[in-house]
């Protein structure tokens, strides 16, 4: 079943058009990779899906609902959550508070506690550093926190923008293993990667963005 569908999505920054009408679909249960050169518009695509950038034209359907004009925070409620490029940890919050931010829209405390357990099992490093300020974590730890934080919303679709950026090869392997594991636990994933080989080896399907076209 189609979970996410982009139809001729165009996004502009001022006068510059960064996406010239791209289309893609993500089916339930898949890992889909979105690859492309620097500046191709991968992050812009993620922003359009998450709603932090509005569309110049085109349509985004999520879970059968047209979300093209839906506010970003409401898309999280619908089951979309992104781990953004560059981690974007809240620097002044502890690891635990950052994780709690992922569950911001949820009220089911039992479910939140279960997901917290799951995240801390996936990333034991975070468990050791619960009280540490996010801004003082190492790059790899921040990346784990960013992925864990997004998981805390228990998304139907997890958007990952370059989760391997700036990490050592060993850590990259770990992160990708965890991505596979999360997927096997039932979360659909749209993955943006610079590292095409690594990404495609883990994905069911892939799209290549060539400066704003898919």
């Amino acid at each position: 079943m189609t979970l996410l569908e982009l139809e001729n999505v165009a996004v502009t920054y001022g006068r510059i058009e960064a996406l010239h009408g791209i289309s893609l679909t993500v089916n339930e249960g898949e890992v889909v990779a979105l690859i492309g050169a620097n500046g191709a518009g991968k992050t812009t695509t993620m922003r359009a899906i998450s709603g932090t950038r509005s569309l110049a034209s085109g349509k985004i359907t999520f879970n059968g609902e047209d979300i093209s004009k839906l506010r970003a925070d409401l898309r999280v409620v619908r089951g979309l959550c992104q781990s953004p490029e560059g981690r974007q940890i809240f620097p002044g919050m502890t690891v635990m508070e950052n994780l709690d931010m992922g569950a911001y829209t949820r009220r089911d405390s039992a479910g939140i506690a279960a997901d917290l357990d799951r995240v801390l099992t996936l990333f034991p490093r975070l468990a050791e550093r619960r009280k540490q300020a996010g801004g003082t974590l190492s790059g790899g730890e921040q990346q784990m926190l960013a992925v864990g934080r997004a998981l805390m919303s228990r998304p139907k679709l997890l958007l990952l923008d370059e989760p391997s950026m700036g990490l050592a090869p060993l850590v990259i392997r770990q992160i990708f293993d965890i991505i596979t594991e999360i997927n096997q636990q039932g979360t659909t994933i749209l993955l943006v990667e610079q590292n095409a080989q690594q990404a495609l080896s883990r994905a069911h399907r892939g799209y290549v963005l060539e400066t704003g076209r898919s």
Binding site: T52, R71, V76, F90, Y104
Partner: protein
């Protein structure tokens, strides 16, 4: 220089300064909250405070409050005053945000436009309360509003008297109430921002607005919340001011707002605990300075201290941010 006087009664001057600074600190919170989230200096916040004092004035007039009511009634008048002032100031702050700032944000206006708008709004309020309000209210409150631009007196709810003495330092009932009430309000706000889910949303937007949205935080709601919270704190300050000094006027916000803003910058604007520290510090320094030189020097001293502190610590005493300052 009255050095002997300052040293001889150091305790007394410190107590006086603390109770003065507590009011600055409460108002300073409004500047700091809005700055922390929007990087905007809401210069109209001084008028949010002013509206609060008028709300108290009108309430007490409507209730027919007389000087020195019995204790039970006094407490009732103060509590009602707090509720009404908080509602009036909180409402005014929210209205400013909705009517003036939000449309500007929608249009991505540059920072300077916000600043000019804030100053303009401030003037509008001062004039409104000086000219229009008295006319609108007509003869309803003649002795109060009949003389625009003049100081309007309020009934004395609590007679100032010394509660206890430590050495040669006398602490009055009013000083104690002002200090405890102000610190309690600030502790409540601190708890709300650092310990509750909504507070976490506020900090998230302050630290990284785009990612906060990705986590499902409704930014517009957070912005409304901080204006209301800042307004409530200014309302509390308005009540304490009314109780302690027993007067208001349409231009009252100007100097107090400037002092509170100074306190916020002194403590590190954007930092809640910095506002407390900056307010108390400023209050003490002013009283010391006024003792050392002469009381008409106190405003000068406040700003000299600001400049000196910023020379050595450009980000204020506690440094930046709802963001970094985890607690």
């Amino acid at each position: 220089m009255h050095f002997d006087e300052l040293i001889g009664h150091l305790g007394q001057h410190t107590v006086d300064g603390l109770s003065k600074g507590a009011i600055y600190a409460l108002i300073a919170l409004g500047y700091t909250l809005v700055y922390g989230v929007l990087r905007l200096i809401n210069f109209a916040h001084s008028e949010v405070f002013m509206v609060g004092t008028f709300a108290v004035l009108i309430l007490w007039n409507q209730l027919g409050v007389e000087n020195n009511p019995p204790v039970g009634q006094a407490i009732l008048f103060l509590v009602l005053g707090l509720v009404v002032a908080a509602a009036a100031s909180g409402g005014t702050a929210l209205a400013l945000e909705r009517v003036a700032y939000r449309p500007l944000r929608r249009k991505n206006a540059p920072p300077l436009i916000f600043l000019i708008t804030a100053i303009g709004l401030s003037l509008v309020f001062v004039e409104l309360f000086g000219q229009v309000l008295p006319k609108l209210l007509g003869g309803a409150l003649p002795d109060v509003f009949g003389r625009p631009r003049q100081i309007v007196g309020m009934p004395t709810i609590i007679q100032q008297e010394t509660l206890f003495t430590i050495g040669n330092t006398a602490i009055t009932n009013i000083q104690l109430i002002v200090f405890i009430a102000a610190v309690a309000m600030m502790a409540l706000l601190d708890w709300f921002i650092n310990r509750t889910r909504y507070g976490r949303g506020v900090r998230a937007v302050a630290q990284n607005p785009e990612t906060a949205a990705l986590m499902g935080v409704n930014q517009e709601r957070v912005i409304m919340l901080i204006f209301v919270l800042g307004g409530i704190m200014a309302g509390a300050a308005a009540l304490l001011w009314s109780m302690r000094f027993g007067f208001t006027q349409n231009s009252i916000g100007f100097v107090l707002g400037l002092k509170a803003f100074t306190a916020a910058v002194l403590g590190g604007i954007g930092n809640l605990r910095g506002a407390l520290l900056g307010g108390l510090f400023l209050g003490i320094v002013e009283v010391y300075g006024a003792t050392l030189f002469a009381s008409n020097w106190e405003d000068v001293i406040a700003f000299v201290v600001l400049i000196v502190v910023l020379m050595f610590r450009p980000t204020g005493l506690l440094g930046e941010s709802l963001g970094r300052a985890r607690a």
